[in-house]
Amino acid sequence: MNKILEASLKGEVLVIKTEGYLNKDLGQDIQDAAQEHIANGINHVLIDLEQSNIVNSIGASIIIELIEQLQETDGTLAFCNLAPIIEKTFKIMGLTKYCSCYSNENDAIEAMS
């Protein structure tokens, strides 16, 4: 099952945890989950992919739209707990030029706060 497990604020960082295949549908769910908080002034978003070990480029492309949106408010997007193949895919696409990758949620939140 591909879904958002949790979307919650930790300090000023919105943490979105996912489960399953990061495809078009889950990419859109991430985008939708972020919108409500961005409208309320949150501009730091962390996507925790610990439970998602497979991705496709359509799901990743939707993340590019979220990067653009956060850039408009000087915000940041980061990832944590990436499977090696997902990190490699994001590197090939160039996503990692615009997003930091952290090994775990605590490190990410500390760096983003």
Binding site: Y21, N23, I54, V55, N56, S57, I58, A60, S61, I62, I64, E65, I67, E68, Q71, A83, P84, I85, K88, T89, I92, M93, G94, L95, K97, Y98
Partner: protein
């Protein structure tokens, strides 16, 4: 000439069917004792090849996938009966061009396949496309 062991799949064009192909790829990779890294790269490339076949070929029929096992490599053919395409007309995507512009955010499939596999080739006509990709086996894979 002796026929190489081949696993053949026929996938209907339905949502997320590319994951069926990755499950088969995992089994074949394990049989060949490929490293986990190579196995993951094959799966990722296969996902993108299937999505291209499903979405861009405008094919109304099934997509066929052949896993051809050799001593020193795995060859995968992804075959669709769609309208074909001209690979030379496919732009190399650059994120710098896509961010903060009206350029379409998608279009990464072919680039990812080329980066993740050891060789990639196409035969395309107006009656279909065959994408052939190869992952070599290293001595230290075993």
């Amino acid at each position: 000439m002796e026929k190489k062991p081949t696993v053949e799949l026929k996938l209907p064009i339905l949502k997320n069917m590319e994951l069926v192909a990755t499950q088969t790829a995992d089994v074949v990779s394990k049989h060949m004792q490929l490293s986990e890294e190579k196995s993951d790269e094959i799966s990722m490339a296969l996902i993108e090849a299937c999505i291209n076949a499903f979405e861009h070929s405008e094919s109304k029929s099934e997509v066929y996938i052949h896993f051809i096992i050799d001593d020193d490599n795995l060859m995968i053919k992804v075959i669709d009966k769609g309208i074909g395409f001209d690979a030379s007309q496919v732009k190399i995507p650059k994120i710098e061009s896509k961010i903060n512009s009206d350029e379409r955010k998608r279009g990464w499939g072919l680039m990812l396949i080329k980066e993740l596999m050891d060789s990639v080739d196409f035969e395309s006509s107006d009656s279909g496309t065959t994408l052939t990709m190869i992952k070599k086996k290293d001595q230290n894979d075993e």
